[in-house]
Symmetry: C2
Subunit: 436 residues, 2 copies
C-alpha cells in the first residue's frame, strides 16, 4: 500500500499533506491512471490518521479531477492529459535542479540584519510605510539601486529610470503589456523556460534563437522577424555561455537597424561571477536607448523576497508611463524601504561576497567528488565560472536518462540539459547540469 511520511508538527493540515503527496504521485506517474487507491479505512490505519482525514484528502483530489469515486468500488486515479504529465514532470526536474539549492542560500541570508532593518522601519517610518508608492516603486529603493548599479556594474541609471517589480516573471509580464502583439519576441534556445512560457501564454509570437559558444546566433536572428530579443549576455542559462564583447556590438548594431528593435538584457545572476573579470553590461555600452536592463533580488537575496527591477532607457520612460503608468507597484512598501537600507548600508555587498565564497567552496567540493568516479573521466566541464552551476559533457554511450540515473546513484544532484530545449526532438546530448 502507498505509504507516506506525514509531518504532524507541520502547520499544514494532515489532509493537505496527504492530498499533496497523492497529487504529486499522480502527476509524476508513480500512481498510474486507473490504479485503485487504498480504501479510506486501510489507508488511514496505515498512515496512523483518522478516516476523516483521508476522506478530506480524497474529496479534494476528486473535486480537482485527480481521482474519481466509483460507488461500491472505491477511488481510482484519473488519466491526466498526456501533455500534462509529461510536461509537468520535465518542468519539475528542471525546477528541482535549479532551485533545490535555495535552502542553502537561505542559510546564508543574513536574516538577523534583515529583521533588524525591518523592525527599525516599523518603528521609525510609519507614515511612509502606509503611503502607496508611485507605479515605479519607492524612491529610496530606486536611488539605492541606482547607486549600487553605478558602483558594482558600472551602469549609469538615474532613479527615475528604475522600475520595481515583484520578481522576474512580473517584469516579463510588463514587457508583454509594453510591447504587446505588434512585436515578435525571441528567446534563447536552450533557455530558462519561464520566459518563453510567459510570452507564449499571452499568445505573443515567440521565436527561439540557438545559443552558440559566444552568444546567440546572429545570422539566425537576422533571418527571423523578431524585434525584441530577451537574452542573458552575462551568463546564459543553462549553458553558462557569456556573450562576447564583439557579439554584444553586433547585437546592438542589429537593434539599430530599426526603430522597433529592442534588447531585454536579463542580468539575473550576474552577481555570482566566481572567477574572471566583470563583463560590462550591454546596457552600459548602449548609446541608442535600445537596451532594457533587468535583475532580481530573489536570486541574490532569498527566494522568498519577491523584488526585481528594470532600468529603462531614458527615451522609453514616457512610452512606459503612457502604457503602464496606471499600474500600481506590486511590491510591499515595507520591504522596499528595508531593502533600500540593506543595499545602502553595505549589507547586500557583504552578502554577495559571502555567497560567492560559499559557492566557490561548493564548486571545489563538487569537482573533487567528480574526480573520484570513472564516469567523469574525459568529461568536459564548462560554464563553471559564472552562475551557480556547471555543465558537464560526458564521453558515454548511455542515454541521457541512464546517465542521470547513474550520477544520481553516485549521490550527485543534476538535470539533463536537453530538458531546457524547447524543440521536441529530444536527442541525447550526454550533457548534464550540476548545481553547486
Amino acid at each position: 500500500m502507498i505509504t507516506y511520511e506525514l509531518d504532524k508538527s507541520n502547520s499544514e493540515p494532515l489532509y493537505v499533506q496527504i492530498y499533496t503527496k497523492i497529487k504529486a504521485d499522480i502527476e509524476a506517474g508513480a500512481i498510474k491512471a486507473d490504479e485503485k487507491l487504498p480504501s479510506k479505512r486501510n489507508f488511514a490505519q496505515n498512515l496512523g490518521v483518522s478516516v476523516i482525514t483521508v476522506e478530506n484528502a480524497y474529496n479534494q483530489l476528486a473535486a480537482e479531477g485527480y481521482i474519481r469515486s466509483v460507488p461500491q468500488k472505491g477511488y481510482f486515479a484519473e488519466k491526466l492529459g498526456a501533455n500534462f504529465t509529461a510536461e509537468k514532470s520535465a518542468e519539475q526536474s528542471r525546477l528541482s535542479a535549479v532551485s533545490q539549492s535555495s535552502d542553502d542560500e537561505n542559510k546564508l541570508f543574513p536574516f538577523t540584519i534583515w529583521a533588524k532593518l525591518m523592525r527599525e522601519e516599523l518603528s521609525n517610518n510609519q507614515v511612509s510605510l502606509l503611503k502607496k508608492p508611485s507605479f515605479e516603486g519607492v524612491y529610496e529603493l530606486r536611488a539605492a539601486i541606482s547607486r549600487h548599479l553605478k558602483q558594482f556594474r558600472n551602469i549609469t541609471a538615474s532613479p527615475e529610470q528604475i522600475i520595481i517589480g515583484a520578481g522576474s516573471e512580473y517584469l516579463y509580464m510588463l514587457m508583454n503589456i509594453l510591447f504587446g502583439n505588434n512585436y515578435v519576441f525571441a528567446v534563447e534556445e536552450p533557455g530558462y523556460s519561464k520566459i518563453a512560457e510567459i510570452y507564449a501564454n499571452y499568445g505573443l509570437k515567440c521565436e527561439r534563437i540557438p545559443v552558440q559558444s559566444d552568444g546567440i546566433d546572429i545570422d539566425f536572428l537576422k533571418k527571423i522577424p523578431a524585434n525584441i530579443i530577451h537574452i542573458s549576455p552575462s551568463h546564459h542559462f543553462p549553458t553558462g555561455v557569456i556573450t562576447s564583447v564583439g557579439k554584444r556590438y553586433s547585437l546592438l548594431e542589429w537593434a539599430s537597424g530599426s526603430p522597433d528593435r529592442f534588447i531585454i538584457e536579463d542580468d539575473y545572476d550576474s552577481e555570482f561571477r566566481l572567477a574572471g573579470k566583470p563583463i560590462p553590461s550591454m546596457y552600459s555600452i548602449d548609446v541608442m536607448d535600445k537596451v532594457i536592463y533587468m535583475n532580481t533580488f530573489s536570486k541574490s537575496l532569498a527566494s522568498s523576497i519577491r523584488i526585481s527591477y528594470m532600468v529603462l532607457p531614458p527615451k522609453f520612460l514616457r512610452k512606459y508611463k503612457e502604457k503602464l503608468g496606471f499600474c500600481s507597484c506590486p511590491v510591499s512598501t515595507f520591504e522596499q524601504y528595508a531593502l533600500a537600507r540593506f543595499i545602502d548600508e553595505g549589507y547586500f555587498e557583504k552578502h554577495i561576497n559571502r555567497m560567492r565564497v560559499h559557492y566557490k567552496k561548493c564548486r571545489a567540493e563538487l569537482f573533487s567528488r567528480m574526480k573520484q568516479f570513472d564516469i567523469f573521466k574525459n568529461s568536459v566541464i564548462s560554464g563553471a565560472d559564472s552562475g551557480l552551476h556547471c555543465i558537464v559533457e560526458f564521453k558515454t554511450d548511455l542515454s541521457d536518462e541512464d546517465l542521470l540515473r547513474e550520477v544520481s546513484t553516485l549521490g550527485f544532484r543534476a538535470a539533463m540539459i536537453k530538458n531546457f530545449y524547447h524543440s521536441s526532438a529530444k536527442e541525447d546530448l550526454h550533457t548534464l547540469i550540476f548545481p553547486y
Copy 2:
C-alpha cells in the same frame, strides 16, 4: 514665473520635486506646449535652490521628452500627444477623486498591531519566512482567507482554491494569461478603467456592456461575442449599482449556455456596505463552477499593502495549475504570514468595522454640507449605501466641467462621472461622484 512650494524636509531630492511638479503641469496643460520655461538662474533664485538643482530637473525632463533645450534660447515645453494630455488628465482626475481618501484610510489602519504582528513573525518564524511559498501563496494566509470568507461572506472555499496575488491588477494580468486571446472579455460601461486597460493592453478583445439600474444589460450581453464577463455585482464602480438577485441568476444562466463562458466577480469593496442587508456573492450561488471570485486587501487595509486573492472554482484548479503553476507567488512571504494572523486574530474584522463607522460619519458630514448650498437643491443622490462614495445627479444647465468647478469652489471634492465612460461621445451627464 512658475512658483512651486518645495518641501526640504521631504526625503525626495529637491530636483525630483521640481521635476515632478513641472512634469505634472505639462501633462495637465498648465504649462502649454512651446511655452518657455524660466531660465535656470531665475528659477533657482525664485525657488530658493541652487542652479544645479534646477539643471538636474531640466535635464531629466529633457531626457524624457517633456521639454527641449534650444541653444542660446532656453528650455521649452514639448507638445505631448493630444491623446496623452487628454487621457492622462482625465485619468488623473479620476484617480484623485478615488484615491485622495487613502490618507484618511491610512490613519485608521491599526499600524501598531500590524507592526507588532510583523515583529513577532520576524522573531519566531525565520524558517518559514525564508521559504519560497508555492505559486498559490502561503498556506496559512489562504486558510485564514478561507475561514474569513465563510464567516463574513458565506463563501465556502477551501484554502486549495485560493490564490494570492499582488493587488487586483496582478490578478487581472493572470486572467489574461489564463484565458488568453481565444476569449472575448467584457467589462462594465461605465467602469473602473484599469480593468479594461489591462485587458486591452494585451490586445485582448474587450467589449463594454452598459450598466442599468440592476446590473449589466443582459440583452446587450447576449448580442455580443463575449465569453468572460468581469463585473462587480456587489457594488458597481462608479454608479454604486448593486446587481439584483434576479439578474445574478440570469447571468449564471447565460454562463451555463456554453462551456467557454465564465464570470469574474470582482468584490473589491464589498466590505464597505454602510447600510442594508449583505448581498450573497455570485460565487456562493454558482453550482456550475463558472464564477471566479476576486478581492483585495489594498482597499480594505492600506493602499501600500499589495495583497489580493482569488477563489477558483474546483474544476478550474487543474487548468490553472497547468497554465500558471510555474509562476512564483509575487507577494512577500513575510506580509502573508502577518496578514494571516491579522485576519485570524480578529483585527481585520475590527478594522473593517471602524472603517465603516468612519465612513458613515464622513457620509453624514458630506450630506449635511450639501444641504447648505443651493446647487444641491433637487439633486438626486444614489449609490450611497455601499462603497466609499455617492453619485449626485444635478438639476442644472451647467456643463459638467463648470459644475465640477462650481462644487470645487464650494470646497467639495468630486469627479465627473462621464470620465468613467469609455465611449468618446462625452456628453454632459450633470452627474458627479463624491468620495466620503
